[in-house]
Amino acid sequence: MQGYIVRRLFQGVVLLVIVTTIVFAVGRLTGNPVDLLLPEEASEEERQAMIEALGLDGPVLEQFVVFIKGAVQGDLGVSIRYRQPAVDVFFSRLPNTLLLMPAAMLLAVFMAIPLGILSALRRGRLTDKVSGTIAVLGIATPNFWLGILLIYIFSVQLGWLPSSRMGDWSHYVLPTITLGTFLVAGFMRLIRSSMLDVLDSEFVKLARIKGLSEMRVVWKHCLRNALIPVLTLWGVFMGGLVTGTIVTETVYAWPGVGRLTYEAVIFRDYPLLQAVVIMDAVLILAINLVVDILYAYVDPRIRFT
């Protein structure tokens, strides 16, 4: 178990190094990072100071060392727009995103598990067909457009729900649905297909031979097995979720990390964007580690290897 976690952590660190290296490389791509890192109206002295601080007149390897040193100490440059350390800006927005993401995940879990199970049990019947169609639609609808559509229906036409910014619970409804839809659709399809495999397995047959009730067969013997592929593919969904927050928070003017990413792009605030990318990687790794531990808890075969 410990070996497993250590291995996972190590893989995470490797990923972080890769991400940081790429960010560094992309920053040097245009040849002159100073233009990216400083506001356009910066004075010549400021430029000179930056060149010295980052060792930009030295060899690339040296620059990389300076960059990594800074990154490790939590220094990823100063945001051009906010005029404060980019990492600080990131952390000031993070809590808002951490309210939205779990809401979407909960929605996904509570919708996808029952629907996935139900469509597997009623394979080929109406329930299966309806939820299958919803899943296909959910995957095909880009969520920025879904967000705008929901705003149009529920805010503009019906006037039931607020269309932007944070506030009481009603502000959470539309962003959560927007962000959660693709998760619901993806999970549902995955759970349905793995559930079908599990229902066909020999140990489910044995459970039935034991004379167990159908409830017990489904909830005890099938569900945990059917959830394993979801946990295995979690990393992929996590990436989609982060992408989803960028778009969703932009649509709903939600002051979180995703919206910050958008602002960094729009205002060409490179130091902020680079900080967001690296910190997002850290965030993803942290969440994935939690999921990995959960995975080991669910599947004993992992725990002992």
Binding site: I18, I148, M238, R268
Partner: protein, 266 residues
């Protein structure tokens, strides 16, 4: 099928299908609704935007942009994935495990962030967009192609080629490559939808093809501010995206089931 054909037709013949220009502004005619609304007219079937440009025209030209971007990035990302998948699977060993680590990493980290990063450093444009979306694709291609190659490697005809003294490179090109083309084509079709969404998302976030060139994602973004007064500006291009993506996804599923049922699990 009809929708795919329609989209390609629209993209190719856009200039002949509409009397308007997608870029030139006609300010007196701004913000007209589609024909079925009270103030709409058949002059602008799907209405006009804030600069008085015909929405239908822009949709048709947008299809063109979408198709070009999709085609190029699939060619680029898929090609890179194909190359890496074959090399990794065929050569194996250290190189294989290194490349697969990289693939795992690419899977965990959302490529869209790199795409945004590129857009800021390199500036917006077709090249940036294609590279960015290519980054999104290569890992998925590489992983599956590698799996195929591993299976192919065990087959007799590869052993036979070795006995005949073919060079490794020759085996890869003449024996392995043709045999993974089926899978490659299925992967391409399965990914069209994802690429269109990615292109639209990037355009929406201001990191796609720069305005005023029409792109569906950009049109949705531009119309967003006018959602309460001019719904058609962002809802119509969105419908176009969803419809096209849906069709390509269904087509991809169908093709996969026909050509390569093993890929079912994806």
């Amino acid at each position: 099928m009809f929708i795919i054909g329609g989209m390609i037709f629209a993209a190719v013949f856009a200039p002949y299908l509409t009397p308007y220009s997608p870029i030139d502004q006609t300010l007196p005619d701004k913000l007209l609704p589609p024909f079925w609304e009270a103030k709409g007219s058949m002059k602008y079937i799907l209405g006009t935007d804030i600069f008085g440009r015909d929405v239908l025209t822009r949709l048709l030209y947008g299809a063109r942009v979408s198709l070009i971007v999709t085609g190029l990035s699939l060619l680029f990302g898929g090609g890179v994935g194909l190359l890496i998948g074959i090399t990794s699977g065929y050569i194996g060993g250290r190189l294989d495990s290194l490349l697969m680590r990289l693939v795992d990493a690419a899977f965990t980290f959302p490529a869209i962030l790199f795409a945004l990063l590129l857009a800021v450093t390199m500036g917006q444009g077709l090249d940036t967009l294609v590279i960015a979306i290519g980054l999104l694709l290569w890992a998925g291609f590489a992983r599956i192609i590698r799996g195929e190659v591993l299976a192919l490697k065990q087959r007799d005809f590869v052993a036979l080629a070795k006995v005949h003294g073919c060079s490794e490179l020759r085996i890869m090109v003449t024996h392995i490559l043709p045999n993974v083309m089926n899978t490659f084509m299925v992967l391409v079709t399965l990914n069209v939808g994802a690429v269109i969404v990615a292109e639209a998302s990037l355009s929406f976030l201001g990191a796609g093809i720069p305005p005023p060139t029409p792109s569906w994602g950009l049109m949705v973004a531009e119309g967003r501010g006018k959602i309460s007064s001019a719904w058609w500006l962002s809802l119509l291009p969105g419908i176009a995206i969803t419809l096209v993506v849906l069709t390509f996804n269904l087509f991809g599923d169908w093709l996969r089931d026909r050509l390569d049922p093993k890929l079912r699990q994806l």
